[in-house]
Symmetry: C2
Amino acid sequence: MTGRYAPGHTLDQAVALERGGENLVRGRTVDAWANMVGPFGGTTAATMLQAILKHPELHGDPLALTLNYAGPVAEGEFEIEVLPTRTNRSNQHWWLEMRQGDQVVTTATAITALRRETWSETEVGPPGVPAPEDLTPAAADRGVKWVDNYDMRFVTGALQSVEEGQTSPDSTTTMWIRDTPPRPLDHVALTAMCDSFFPRSFLRLGRPIPAGTVTLTIHYLATADEIAAQGTDFILGSVHAHRFHGNYHDESARLWSRDGTLLATSHQLMYFKS
Amino acid sequence: MTGRYAPGHTLDQAVALERGGENLVRGRTVDAWANMVGPFGGTTAATMLQAILKHPELHGDPLALTLNYAGPVAEGEFEIEVLPTRTNRSNQHWWLEMRQGDQVVTTATAITALRRETWSETEVGPPGVPAPEDLTPAAADRGVKWVDNYDMRFVTGALQSVEEGQTSPDSTTTMWIRDTPPRPLDHVALTAMCDSFFPRSFLRLGRPIPAGTVTLTIHYLATADEIAAQGTDFILGSVHAHRFHGNYHDESARLWSRDGTLLATSHQLMYFKS
């Protein structure tokens, strides 16, 4: 374990929200999480989730989140309208909209749920990989700031092959990831990590191309206690695409704890031009 | 090819909508698609998509749809509010809410998009399977009406093993499916098919248990012309779960054309009790 947990962690700064009304919160983008244009999409997703977690009527823990990136988020202030659309005994449905001025920049729906013990089984386990301690941390320098907030250790499909111009017959990247400086894992951090993989098109084509996420769905398959149990340890992520066609390709990711607990899956569609 | 295309197809009846305002349509459930409680979730998803397809401001073809089943849809009338939240040059973002009386029963977001030719590749091809003509149609009798609208031909993970009380170490079901009577494939029919797999928990446990979809995300990886090219042919679907835990499990499905074109993926979370 390197470093220590800082209370003013950049992730907590990025998702900091101020209440502006019963169903309205306000925040602002944080420079440390800047992407090529606007903030890293993972922090936008995490911020939307945070708006739910801080809502006074919250019932249950995050179960599913779908983010639609409607337009670029500009640096600066934003407001989020966050509304429970229906509250049932065992779950709650949410609708959210992030706005800047009169522009809708992001929409989302989510479900929070109470979880009880049931028959339990993980059918898709992690691939066999070296321990993160036996791998070299990836160089953070990608021309974007947000990657500095992660310690990423590539197992396969490293960004380096893109930098070296190597095409790849397979779009899979498998990597260990944790926040840097370390921060205990929670739903917010896990949400951001679900969007931390570089575009699969880069890996296949061996070069960066114009690309951006248009929609991201996260399924939280672990309970809150399982997520909290990770502390500041590395998480193993593996992502691949099914199909690239007509300006869009998908990406499916799975994120496991070191002991093989499947914490979440994420499925997204990316726009690309090539 | 058996039967012929009937203009009064039950699927078209299920998704029939009447305009009630600029962003409001009305419809009613159709008895032929009845599930245990209310209508088959696939027709609810297809009906929500239809509300977008019939909107006067529609821009592009379906790219992504996320449905949240907030509560049971009762037999009878419903209204759908359908709103373009942002229209960009190459895509459009949608928000939808299905209501019955003062109850929100389903919410959704969707993206429609213009597609242009780009580098194209399918990375995840279909499993090797027998032709549908070499397989026996599954018995439609499952105690629910909606399955009568499909000709399903199981390759692996057939419902029969559940009926025989056999547990399974793997949650995969692979099957051929088409509408019956035959109906040319379009986004509406494909959407309903994405939800046509019986719950993975049944297959694992070898018995039916209380289970229901709470959220469903469909990514349309094929363009409209590829979907139309299927005509009334069988589609190959394969579905599996990653994890069952704490009242919920996921399901990821892939749907290919007979010639191996990946038409769509769907990812859902199901509530279960066991």
